[in-house]
């Protein structure tokens, strides 16, 4: 047992233990088919949901013909929300094209960088969302309280306080989610990548 060749022989003795897997090919193909169908359904649901929202929004604008400031305000808000949602979806994905990725050290380093980049992109999208909400709400308020400076000031202050609170809450939630889910993975990938680098004593 001291010879490493016998250790390899022991390792390969697992063949008999998994004979049941001979019948597994059809099950595997079924799994892949179901996976592809589930992905397709999810994509249809996402695209369908966004399309319905856009059509509904366009229909509401065309039917009620609101004042230009309100139209602009609502459009900016919708755009801000859409960009944020898109970024949010993509930020949750780890690299999907494992089949086209490089060796493990490179893959782990790229995946860690990708997670960090996506988190930064999500923060920018979130800042844009708050900017869009602030601009949109102010444009709508400007239209609603036109001609009454006192009421305008009151509404603007109320909207600013509300948005500031929402921005703070959202930012904190975003950071917490990253720390809870992505950060451990990111650190793990970095650690894995680092641990494959040669130590000084190796060279």
């Amino acid at each position: 047992m001291n010879d490493f060749g016998s250790i390899e022989a022991v390792w390969r003795s697992q063949d008999g233990a998994a004979a049941a897997h001979d019948a597994g090919y059809q099950r595997l193909r079924q799994f892949i088919r179901e996976h592809a169908q589930a992905e397709l359904r999810l994509n249809i649901a996402k695209t369908g949901g966004v399309s319905v929202l856009v059509i509904h929004f366009a229909w509401a604008i065309a039917t009620y013909r609101p004042a230009p400031l309100v139209t602009w305000g609502v459009s900016i808000i919708v755009l801000g929300v859409a960009v944020f949602l898109y970024r949010n979806w993509t930020s949750q994905l780890l690299p999907r094209s494992v089949g086209r990725s490089g060796p493990a050290a490179e893959f782990a380093a790229n995946a860690a960088r990708g997670l960090q980049r996506r988190h930064s992109a999500l923060r920018i999208a979130y800042a844009m969302l708050i900017g869009a909400l602030l601009t949109g709400v102010n444009l709508i308020l400007a239209e609603v309280v036109q001609g009454s400076p006192d009421r305008r000031a009151f509404h603007h202050s109320a909207a600013s306080v509300f948005l500031a609170a929402a921005a703070f809450g959202g930012w904190t939630a975003l950071q917490r989610r990253f720390e809870r889910t992505s950060l451990p993975v990111l650190r793990d990938l970095e650690k894995f990548s680092r641990s494959l680098r040669p130590a000084e004593s190796d060279s």
Binding site: M1, N2, F4, I7, E8, V10, W11, R12, S13, Q14, D15, G16, A17, A18, H21, G24, Y25, L28, F31, I32, H35, L94, P95, R96, S97, V98, G99, R100, S101, G102, P103, A104, A105, E106, F107, A108, A111, T181, P184, V185, D188, L189, K191, F192, S195, L196, R197, P198, D202, S203
Partner: protein, 169 residues
């Protein structure tokens, strides 16, 4: 590649590499019950990547790159779900399933336990080493230099031999 060609190629890969990949999964996961899940995940990624395989590297290198990278992602998914996966630090040895325990030899059990105590990069290296990959192939799969692979493998051999010898005495 036509759909029929893809299906044929995939079936070939499955037939030729099934056992090696299952052993690889068991080695990486420490002999617990998730090896089948990981194997399915690897084959799903193989299916997805088959169209893009351009034969720039050997088929086995390409396949094991997918296996190693899928194993990394699988491990992270387990951790995100809160399921304890193979950890970075030394693990208490995980036991094989009752069925596997009945079928596997005592020596194999000792070997799997020894591998389960290794950190993930060494566990991957051990699985590749035991499958008979050369230093050059291991280096290509893991993305390290051939010399570095040699140094690591040499240390790993000593660790495994010592662990198994320890069980025998």
């Amino acid at each position: 590649m036509t759909a029929a060609e893809k299906e044929h190629r995939f079936a070939e890969i499955y037939r030729d590499n099934r056992m090696r990949l299952i052993r690889f999964c068991r080695g990486f996961l420490g002999g617990d019950g998730d090896a089948d899940d990981l194997f399915q995940e690897i084959m799903l990624q193989v299916w997805r990547g088959l169209d893009g395989f351009e034969h720039r590297s050997q088929a086995s290198t390409w396949l094991y790159r997918i296996a190693v990278n899928s194993a990394l992602l699988y491990r992270h998914r387990l951790r995100r779900r809160g399921t304890p996966g193979p950890a970075d630090e030394e693990l208490p040895a995980q036991s094989p399933s009752p069925l596997a325990r009945a079928e596997w030899s005592e020596q194999l059990d000792a070997l799997l336990r020894a591998i389960a105590t290794l950190p993930p990069p060494d566990r991957l290296l051990a699985a590749l080493l035991l499958e008979g990959f050369t230093y050059k192939e291991m280096a290509e799969i893991l993305g390290i230099s051939t010399n570095h692979a040699g140094v690591r493998v040499s240390r790993l051999r000593q660790k495994l031999e010592k662990a198994i010898r320890g069980k025998e005495t």
